[in-house]
Subunit: 457 residues, 2 copies
């Protein structure tokens, strides 16, 4: 790509936003300019992901993440504290094994990983015939007679036709979350779930299952999408395939951990709180970059930017690093419980947990009044490419605040690459674009600025 | 990231666009569905980039690209032909060398590459004191007295504050394109240009220079942004640094090459032509993935999609793989010249040459009538995330058609990552997201469909 120099120079001139006059527009311009030229979010992410790495609840990495977050926020927050919370402590144990043992092609090793919160098989493993299904209805029709003693293979793909990949995830994830207990109802001895990925990949995607009460807990694994296709193909001609898998995961007693909270006290309405947050915990397979290192460092950066540009908020601004979003939500629940106990008045909460990609807008769960107020700010975001303020939703960790009447919002980045990395070994620092990350941090800071300036009443 | 399953399932339902009733909306839905589930653009790109690779004009890779494009398009076009064009034939020759020879820290090797179309230094190299400047004005002020016999170092960074990175490029690229001749006016013996990149990187960005007439041609190199920073820092305390560089590039006699054109003949208005294209040539340092393998395979895919969905266009649709965009534009010029000679009536031309990233909209150079018509289609694109139809511009290769009154458009993807790869060794297949590529191909096919259905009069 070359471009005619003159045309490009003209373009550079017209790219200056026409909105650049109002105080709000100027402040937002300053936020973006500062982040894009002197931002620290990318360096913070590098530390969190490459020096600390995986941060599953209860792990040494999570503890290191807590210490680092506290230390980091002390550089720019008025106060930083730890909010204790007991968290589930699930560990993967030694490497999973899985193979087809009796194919005409011989033994075929399979790329799998245990699902989070699954029970393990132990060293004896599980062996069984594989029954492939695409839905819980299909499972029900097969019934106990066909399922008992078998391994159920949930193989409904994510719908590639969905433009927003989270919609595709929403259409498939019940297989992972609820499939193991659904299969156990009919006497299955194990579950294989097709990984929640949009592409043909060699690596599996982990993620939590949720066992139902009073149903036997059976071991469950995710299989890479490529091996899901292979297994399905083999099953067409070899119905009596025997599948073996061995997992060593286990759930230890709950462990002590913390939400990490940094705060800048409001000068005018200190009792009105605006929260911006991400979750500090991450799956054990990688570095937790897009899920959710980016959300953490962007949330911290909102506070840091306020210091950098010398902005004194009227309201109290808190950056919250929630613990245990991935397999329990204990941090989000505890934060809301404490807020209620202390009768704190939260006016809004924003979460970034959809990856550190180019900003497209914000989602929200809000009453009509606050929603209209927030949408009235759209012209201020347009010069930065944020145009989508229509979707409902916010974030898992701030959901528990909603019953307190808090307006919740979600940072909405481009969704196309998220599920290439989500819950896999691929969710590493190098998958994050510095510019995309910074634009997200600045967008969140701009929204917090507007909420602080104008409130929601 | 986990989400409440029920919420996500609801979301999957509401994500279906409300616009889904009109015939146009249905056709566009079919285009996207087909590309996202059965598209061949990603496989085509893999072949073009990993099997063929670099395709600089006149190189064996370019010739292979021509043959492959012809062969590929024969699978779905009514006819495919080669349009001969003579192209510049510049070669890099053996690996460049560059070093600071007399720093207090000793000899420091520098990461550089020759600029495209530069003369070489030959084996004796060039040595000189380095004069750093940020602008042509600064150069002029220094004048012949200070410049003569020296090496000029253009070190004005791309403006990180620009949200659209092409605007930042537009503000800096004159240093590369025109800097060498500007410096030569004052007797410089060589030029170092800070690479056109937004990040701190170790690898240099090549790209064409344009020597002015009647000014001595002096050798010019790009230096990695990280080494530009280092050199600048050293110069602050060591003004008499001697810089050595050696390049072996040369320009051979013009070589024969081709534009590759695939066509589906219109059923109703065969003489009205709609062009969709990218450029087949690419720099020699990498695989030419985002620049512009993606534009090529997306353009081919527009034709392939028409066959796949069984759409018979009323007007003639051409996919054009232009040759020599990078260092001469001879293909674009020849295509327009032939169109004029044959009195062909082109109603519109679309180019994809800003990378294969998530679609944001289309740019255009159009009269008011066609512009209004195209903007009236915005609601049809909104469900796919394309909302930006405001910017001027199109593409270099189709620019020469504009004097013939042709409406020209540019595919507008997200710009944040483009200059991480542009003209560097990093522009490889693995940097392209399958989904992002496919969304672009489908967006272009949707626009061609609308142009074909409704024309621009």
């Amino acid at each position: 790509m070359i471009k005619d120099t003159v045309r490009l120079l003209l373009f550079a001139c017209i790219a200056t936003p026409a909105f650049a006059q109002s105080p709000d527009a100027s402040a937002i311009r300053q936020i973006f300019d500062t982040e894009l030229t002197q931002g620290k979010s990318y360096a913070a992410l590098e530390y969190l992901t490459t020096r600390i790495g995986a941060r599953l609840s209860g792990s040494p990495g999570a503890a290191a993440g807590v210490e680092w977050s506290r230390h980091e926020m002390e550089n720019f927050a008025d106060s930083v504290w730890l909010q204790p919370v007991m968290v589930p402590h699930w560990i993967r144990g030694q490497q999973e094994q899985a193979r087809i043992v009796n194919s005409k092609k011989g033994t075929i090793e399979m790329n799998v990983c245990a699902l989070g919160m699954s029970v393990g098989t132990g060293p004896e493993g599980v062996t069984g015939q594989v029954i492939e299904v695409k839905s819980f209805d299909e499972l029900k029709q097969l019934g106990e007679k066909r399922i008992k003693g078998k391994i159920v293979f949930f193989n409904r793909p994510m719908d590639l036709k969905q433009i927003n990949t989270f919609a595709a995830y929403g259409g498939a994830v019940e297989q992972r979350a609820l499939g193991p207990s659904e299969a156990a109802k009919y006497g299955a001895v194990g579950v294989i779930v097709r990984s929640m990925g949009m592409n043909q990949e060699d690596y599996p995607h982990t993620g939590s299952l949720r066992y139902a009460l009073n149903i036997p807990k059976i071991p469950a694994i995710a299989i890479s999408t490529r091996h899901a296709e292979l297994l399905s193909k083999l099953l067409q001609t070899e119905k009596d395939l025997q599948f073996y898998f061995e997992t060593h995961c286990e759930t230890l007693p709950d462990a002590p951990s913390f939400n990490v909270i940094g705060e800048i006290k409001g000068s005018q309405y200190p009792n009105e709180i605006i929260v911006v947050g991400g979750h500090l915990d991450s799956w054990d397979l990688a570095q937790g970059a897009h899920d959710d290192g980016t959300g953490c460092v962007q949330s911290m950066e909102v506070l840091r930017l306020m210091k950098m540009i010398g902005y004194k908020p009227k309201r109290t601004i808190r950056a919250v690093m929630f613990m245990n979003e991935e397999n329990g939500l204990r941090g989000g629940l505890e934060y809301a419980r404490q807020a209620a106990l202390k009768q704190e008045k939260h006016i809004a909460a924003i979460e970034s947990d959809d990856g550190g990609f180019t900003p497209r807008g914000f989602t929200m769960n809000a009453q009509e009044g606050p929603k209209a107020r927030i949408k009235s700010w759209k012209p201020l975001f347009a010069p930065y490419g944020l145009t989508d303020f229509e979707e409902e939703g916010a974030g898992a960790d701030i959901g528990p605040l909603e019953p307190q009447g808090v307006t919740t919002l979600g940072f909405l980045p481009d969704s196309q690459r998220y599920f290439d990395y989500h819950h896999t070994r691929e969710d590493t620092f190098d998958k994050v674009s510095k510019r995309e990350l910074e634009l997200g941090a600045a967008s969140m800071a701009a929204l917090v600025y507007l909420l602080d300036q104008h409130g929601l009443n």
